[in-house]
Amino acid sequence: MFKAFAKGLSITFKHMLPGHSVTVQYPHVKLKPSDRFRGLHRLVPAHDREKCVACYLCPTVCPAKCITVESAENAKGEKYPRIYEIDMLRCIFCGYCVEACPVEALEMTGAYELANYRRSDFVFTKERLLK
């Protein structure tokens, strides 16, 4: 019985040794999330504009209704999102928008540090989402 006790404790103590801890010293140390992590959105850029063609599928599918798209016609006669905004305060990071996008213009990145001081800073405009 003592043997088993010692064995158990040895595992415990092993974890106390350096290099065995799972806790990271955030914010000094940051973990890289998995590739499938659903963090902040990113609009994929194309040559001279965003890839998004303002099809309205993501705002339609979004269960939190946090995406605002307004389409317009650009100088070349193409459909483009004059306004593209996501309100991160309402977003539930379900990823439906990414799934809905027919032209793969929207992705979710690993960025998860979204805290901010002002409510308005949580609204990500097209420019911010394209970065």
């Binding site: 063609v53 339609t60 016609e73």
Partner: protein, 826 residues
Amino acid sequence: MVNLTIDGKQVTVSKAATIYEAALEAGIHIPVLCYAKKLLPYGACRVCLVEVEQMKGRLIPSCTTPVTQGMVVTTTSAEINKVRKTVLEFLLVNHVVECPVCDKGGECDLQDLTFEHEVYPNRFTGEKFALPTDEVNPLIERNMNRCVLCGKCARVCDEIVAFGSYSFINRGFESKIATAFDRGLNCEFCGQCVSMCPVGAILPRPFKFKARPWQLKEVDSVCGYCGNGCTVTLGVLKDKVETIRFNDKTGVNDGNLCIRGRFGYSYVNSEDRLTKPLVRKDGKLVQTDWKEALDTVVSGFAKARAEKGVGIVTGARLTNEELFLLKNLAKAMGTGNLDHSGGESYKGVTEGLFETLGVTASTATFPQVEECDTILSIRSDFYETHPVFGMVVNQAVKRHDAHLIVIADKRGKFGKLPHAETLLAKPGLEVNILNAMAQSLLADGLAITDGVEGVVELQAALADYTPELVAAQTGVPAAAIRAAAQQLAKAKKSAILLAYGLPYTAHSRELGIAAANLAILTGIPGREGSGLYLCGEKANSQGAIDLQIVPGKEALDSQSMFQAAAAGTLSALYIVGEDPLTSYPDRKKIETALDKVPFLVVQDIFLSPTAQQADVVLPAASFAEKDGTFTNAERRLQRVRQGIPLPGEAKTDYAIFELLAGRFGKQVSFTGPEAVFSQIAASTPGYGGIEYGAIGPQGVVWGGDLLAVKRRKVVAVAGGKPVETPYQLITGSSLYHNGTVSTRATGPLAVIPSPFVELGREDASTLQVKEGDLLTLRANGVEIKLAAKIDTRMPKGVLFAPYHFSSAGLNRIFTGQAAVPVEVSK
């Protein structure tokens, strides 16, 4: 009736039905692509294939196959679905699938069918269409790379619009829909093709990339332009009317509209709308609040009332409820000087009809005309003033082989229809021809005279109007007049169409009577399927007549009010929803009146030229911002519904009238249009028993489909005298505009952006003018300049200029005559 079985269900339908229609009646859905309720069966797409027990071995297109007794139909099976799927696969081989940027996405029949039949992936591959697109047209965008060759656009434009813009060209893979010589569209821009196209090949350009269909709020209302009273469905996005949606479930227009209804909505969103009341201070109109504006109005009217009185002139685009409140307001203000639409325009015709038939409205409804054998249209302009009723006439001619007779001073669209005959007379002589037709009927014993008063007198009075004599005056062959009269007499179902409006004031009483005479002598009133149609120019012209928005006893009518104002014997004018300076005949008179009248209040949605002269301007509501009812030219009461909020501080005419009535000590608070309507129903002849809530999608026709006439009395009227100058100018309505408000709408302006004068080729070469040259027209010492438009429509010596544009100054020379003698020079 025929009995058949569809998917095991017993169905009984009329023997004219197709399998598709029978299934629809039984509640069974068969997918379709090229079928449309209002078009003739075509069978182009083969999506609607079904299996019929009696025709085993192949699948049958249900949309073109008539039902037969005992038919056993199966609408879905594994095999049928496979074939349908293959059909779709074939369509998708060449189709450029770009749903994300295609505005049809979300209401595209191809998209829906593809989804329903799970057509992905496609077993076939092939070359995609790479055809040039038309994205420069301001109203209709065409992208034939998305076309499924269903032919609906070509069919609707031919069968219903009778314009014939499109047809299929080339063969096989190269087949496509194109205009003549594959050029840009140059048509009526009614947008019927837009509403018919099941895919995104023909789209409304002003709505391009604006929204997805599911984002729009749809509001069923009535077009605010003409008396045709087409139902429209407003597509509202973020409190703005962004488009007009196709809807064939409401009204009797089958979803058909004209350019004004379909593309003329943009004025409601205009930046130029009045949003705040204005009062004149130190000679300038400045913005103010409602309190000050109303105080000024009330004290001004009170003062005027104590002096020489107030006159009220209204337009006919107010709802019935608003007109009713206006009438109450006039009573509260103690004035009988109340009139609408310039007085003249409706007065003559209604008086004429009342004298002969005892009614002041159309005696039948629009859909009945589809079945007519003979139709007589007075003036070729009828299609221009009431295009969608015109489309009913097109269908009567094209589908029912109706005989169409047009009495006109210029050629028009009607004249191009098969069997149509235009009796082309010199301007102002329509009555002479109608008289001659009546004369010939009486002389040949073809007239129906049983129970008709005044026949002997009429016969005697018409001695001067034998076809031969009239032929000599008008230039219309006597034989043609006789033949037309005979056509009308022998028809079992016939219609006589007469439109009225601001530019058609001359001889209006005579025209009303002459038309009614002919109707009586050919047995039209009261006969099933026949009718005499009196069609007003504005959305609620008929309502204004029904509600008696007319001068009281010994009070001034509109013309007399302006006369009195000009002579200094009227102290105030209240003009609601009209721009007399632009649209009433004789601008000089109106100018003097507005100038001289001590107090002028104008209530409008824009700062019109008339409003600019006002002492107080009250901002009102457009048709899209109010609730109520309109009565159209066939007496159909329909609901107008508010789709968008009022701009700024503007108020509905309803609210303004109520406020003012309160200030004049007649505080009657109605809970809303419904309460007002019950009062209207109680006090308006013919409206009794109609309930606001019961006015459904199809409206309610007061007086029933066939209006009972009170008498049949023919009355002799004198014809006109031809104008004997080398050139004469006639005015009227242009197809693309209605009244003056359409000149603020981008759609109609895209086609007719500015005023013009139209003349024939012959005159053009005599005068040596080219298209677009400025022509100087001189009459009564006044000169106006208009750009020339040259075509083949105008007879020699006759010029036509539409009256809508203020800048044209047409009413400087047009003072109400049928034809203005003019001197023309370059």
